[in-house]
């Protein structure tokens, strides 16, 4: 027990230390002062000691009591704790036992589960084997049945049943035949026997079917043919069947071809359609072929499937190509296409001098051939569309049903589908674009483009040559309508062929013609200039030299100029109309995006040509303006500066009633305009009006720069400016206001009381016209304008910023 040890230490340790301490302290005293009486001190100390001893005892007692109390309590606690531990221990033992039991139970269960799953998988294997066996047994039974039935079927000419048997035989699992290689002799014998019977039967049947089909093809017995043709896929020889069947169809096609060629060579059935004889023949032929395909395809489609169908088309294509070759040859020689092609090429590309091509082909003849080629292409396109629709349609029906493989993941199926589609597209492309008909047709379209180009060129040249002004009142001449008519006709014809590339090429060629030949012709007339009385003298001299009646020559040239001017503007307008018309015309036709884009971008060229013509017309109007208007406006504006602008109020009032200048000036211009209005096409007249507006503004600006104003003078100027504005808006509309905008700024700058106010006006106008086409006056210009106010001090004007 720890208590007694602690107690003894306590007793011996501490008092001993104290005694020592006391002893050390007392010793010197005892030595040095023996004479002193220590009794009192000792008594005191003893007393104290006594007190301390008692205190110690009391404390010890206390401690003992406390310790005793504690010991009693601690013991009890220990005991109860010990009990609890024991109880816990017991519980733990129980748990441990239970756990052990659980473990063993689990072990048992897992063993059991293993056993069960093992049995299940064994069952599974057994089941698949059973299924396999059943299948095998079924196959073997089928084999037996087939072997038994086949001979009878063949003998009784029941080829449908026979080929069904063979089909069953051929689709049997290979495992069936492996059986004959092992174990019991008798079982394998029968299988081997059946196999041999069927193999030989297949050979026989195949031979019979082939000969029967060939026979029926020779006899032309359609019902027999269709009966036999269905069996070839069943005996796994579809190509044989197709081959034989195509012989029959090829015969039909050949016959059709012969008939059509014979009719063609005889000159056709209708004399009215003689110039489209070849196109008609081609059309009839394609119609016939389409009919043949249409009536035979369902049978093939049902028993052969899609892929084979396309192959079949290839076999037929050879005959179609052959027909086309003969037709094309005939077409080429009879219509002298190659010959014309060479000539046309020379003319268009100017490989020979113009006079060398004396036997230039007649545009009318070329026109006819061009039309015929277009019709031929239309027929071909129609046939191709028929083929791709027939075969494309099948694809759509086939693909969603797929192969029924639901387990196959979607991606792989799509991938396969895509690959198949691609392969098919390639084959179709091969058939459509690379077959003889395809390539020859492309060649013909190439020829057509050349011929069309020639036709347009010659027709336009003719239109220029035979250009006449229809009636006296008209502003334009026949060339405008002719050119638009020719171009529209050619582009429409190209569009009718169904070949987008030829449309684009024709548009290219047409716009080239407009930009060069037509544009050049019009420009030539415009560049000769506009004759007025002012430059009449020199013109008269030239005319005199050329021995023409002077007046007449001048008039003729003037007329030519105006005509070209108006023709350009009108043609530009009509071309824009044509472009819009073509776009709406083609909007309804369904085409691939690439082709739509091509057409869209090609037609913009027509618009560009139109813009060029419009700018030519504008240029012409400027010429006219320069020679007929500019000087007159300048002369008219001259008297302006003669009016004194340092006015009084009375002057202003007087001028209000008696206009000093502007009314007359505007009347003069109005006379000029009225004179020209009936001579000009609306667009051109508008251009002229705008030019006039600008010129008026410029001349007035120049004139007023020579004047000196006071406040009243400026007021008068403002009134005049309003007159100009009112007049121009009246005749030329709001766009004319823009042309006099700068003048307006000057006028409002002059109409101020002080320089500060002028600055305000200037800043306001700057803010207002920031985006408009009118330029604001610059600072030096403002200074210049303000200097016109005689009443403003020069120094103040100079100092503005």
């Amino acid at each position: 027990m720890p208590e007694p040890i602690l107690h003894s230490k306590f007793l011996s340790g501490l008092p001993a230390g104290r005694k020592n301490g006391v002893r050390h302290g007392e010793k010197p005293e005892k030595v040095g002062e023996k004479q002193f009486d220590f009794t009192r001190k000792i008594r005191e100390l003893r007393l104290e000691l006594e007190i301390k001893k008692r205190e110690e005892e009391r404390i010890e007692k206390d401690i003992a009591i406390i310790l005793e109390e504690n010991t009693i309590d601690g013991g009890e606690q220990n005991r109860s704790f010990g009990l609890a531990v024991t109880r816990l221990n017991n519980h733990m033992l129980v748990v441990e036992n239970s756990a052990k039991q659980l473990t063993s139970a689990l072990k048992n269960i897992s063993v059991l589960a293993d056993t069960i799953s093992g049995r299940v998988s064994a069952l599974d294997v057994a089941k698949t084997r059973v299924v396999g066996c059943l299948q095998l047994a079924g196959d073997m039974r089928d084999l037996g049945v087939c072997a038994e039935g086949i001979d009878d079927a063949i003998r009784s000419e029941d080829f449908e049943t026979a080929s069904q048997h063979i089909h069953r035989f051929l689709t049997l699992d290979q495992a069936v035949f492996q059986i004959r290689e092992f174990k019991q002799k008798d079982a394998t014998d029968s299988i081997r026997h059946s196999y041999e019977v069927l193999s030989s039967a297949k050979e026989r049947l195949s031979k019979i079917l082939k000969s029967r089909l060939t026979e029926s093809v020779q006899k032309g017995d359609v019902a027999e043919m269709q009966r036999f043709i269905k069996m070839f896929p069943l005996i796994h020889e579809p190509d044989e069947g197709l081959q034989r069947y195509s012989v029959f169809l090829n015969q039909k096609i050949d016959k059709l071809a012969e008939d059509n060629l014979a009719i063609m060579k005889a000159g056709g059935t209708d004399d009215n359609r003689r110039n489209v004889l070849y196109a008609d023949t081609l059309f009839m032929f394609f119609e016939g072929v389409a009919e043949i395909i249409e009536s035979n395809l369902p049978v093939l489609e049902h028993s052969y499937g899609l892929e084979k169908l396309l192959d079949f088309m290839f076999i037929l294509q050879a005959r179609i190509d052959e027909f086309f070759r003969r037709l094309h040859e005939e077409f080429d020689t009879r219509r002298r296409l190659s010959h014309f092609n060479r000539l046309v090429d020379d003319v268009i590309h100017q490989k020979k001098a113009a006079e060398a091509v004396e036997d230039a082909p007649d545009p009318m003849e070329i026109d006819a051939i061009a039309s015929e080629i277009c019709m031929m292409n239309t027929s071909a396109e129609m046939y191709w569309r028929f083929v791709s629709r027939r075969i494309g349609k099948n694809e759509v029906i086939r693909s969603p049903s797929g192969d029924g493989d639901d387990e196959e993941n979607e991606e792989a199926r799509q991938e396969r589908h895509r690959l198949r589609k691609e392969a098919k597209e390639q084959k179709m492309d091969q058939l459509l674009n690379r077959s003889r008909v395809g390539t020859k047709m492309q060649e013909l379209i190439g020829n057509y483009c050349l011929l069309e180009h020639f036709y347009m060129l010659k027709s336009v040249q003719k239109a220029i040559k035979s250009d006449v002004k229809e009636d006296a009142g008209g502003l334009t001449s026949s060339i405008v309508d002719d050119v638009v008519f020719i171009i529209r006709k050619s582009i429409r014809r190209a569009a009718g062929s169904g070949n987008v590339d030829s449309v684009c090429a024709t548009i290219n060629n047409a716009t080239a013609l407009i930009d060069t030949v037509v544009h050049g012709h019009l420009r030539q007339s415009i560049q000769q200039g506009y004759v007025t009385s002012s430059n009449f003298a020199s013109e008269a001299f030239t005319a005199y030299q050329q021995g023409k009646p002077v007046k007449e020559a001048a008039d003729a040239q003037k007329e030519q100029f105006l005509l070209a001017l108006n023709n350009s503007a009108k043609l530009s307008e009509l071309l824009i109309e044509l472009q819009k018309g073509l776009i709406t015309e083609w909007a309804g036709v369904k085409r691939p995006d690439v082709e739509k884009n091509k057409l869209e971008h090609s037609t913009t060229q027509i618009e560009e040509s139109a813009k060029k013509l419009a700018s030519l017309a504008k240029h012409g109007v400027e010429e006219l303006f320069k020679s007929a208007f500019k000087n007159k406006i300048k002369q008219g504006a001259d008297p302006y500066q003669e009016i004194d602008r340092q006015m009084t109020m009375q002057d202003v009032e007087y001028y209000e009633a008696h206009d000093p200048f502007m009314e007359q000036f505007l009347a003069q211009i109005d006379r000029l305009l009225v004179e020209n209005e009936p001579l000009l096409f609306a667009d051109n007249y508008q251009t002229l009006l705008l030019l006039t507006s600008s010129e008026i503004a410029r001349q007035i600006e120049q004139s007023l720069a020579k004047c000196q104003f006071n406040r009243y003078g400026a007021l008068q100027l403002d009134r005049e400016y309003r007159q100009i504005c009112a007049y121009l808006t009246n005749v030329a509309g709001w766009s004319a206001r823009e042309k006099v905008g700068r003048l307006g700024q000057i006028v409002s700058l002059l109409n101020v009381e002080t320089i500060d106010e002028a600055m305000e006006v200037w800043h306001n106008s700057k803010a207002m016209t920031s985006s408009a086409t009118i330029r604001t006056l610059t600072l030096p210009e403002v200074r210049k304008v303000l200097a016109l106010r005689a009443d403003f001090p020069t120094v103040a004007i100079k100092s503005i910023e």
Partner: protein, 216 residues
Amino acid sequence: MEDYKYLFKVVLVGNAGVGKTCLVRKFTQGIFPPGQSATIGVDFMIKTVKVGNDKIKLQIWDTAGQERFRSITQSYYRSAHAIVLVYDVSCQPSFDCLPEWLGEIESYANRRVLKILVGNKVDKGDEREVPERIGRDFSDVNQFDYFLETSALDATNVDQLFEQVATRLTNDMKLTDERVHQFRADATNSSSSTGGPIKLIDRAQTQLNSCCTRQS
């Protein structure tokens, strides 16, 4: 149509099978179509590129190289802004035909057309039959504006080719625009006197016309 600063017409020509379509596909769609069959007629693509801060729309007409399409393809020369003549560096005959093509370009195309010579299929390495030097010399002698060897297969220089086309055409066009403005300004400034200014207006007008011609 979306907004763009200029629209240029680019026409590709050259013998059949030199890889014109592949170049265009690589540039416009980023794909190299293996087993590309011969183009029928003319193929058409649009691609917008950036030159500096300007959006430039390239209208690419990819023509068929075969003889039977010649009359269709010829009609595209006149309005082209740029003609890219392509040959195959691994095929000497395609190079030998270049003078013939050049003849066509000279007789049908605009005189100011941007002419670019391209030797395609440089990826063919050992099979090369036309050394780069020879191609470059030909382009120098015949005043091509630019020469480049490309490969549509591994994308060598494909983007660069069309970027060059766009950049050069844009710069040319900007120059023309500036000149037109200059002439116009001259014309308005000095039109108060007679004689000289009329010529200036004419010049501005012709300049404008020629600019329009290029825009077509």
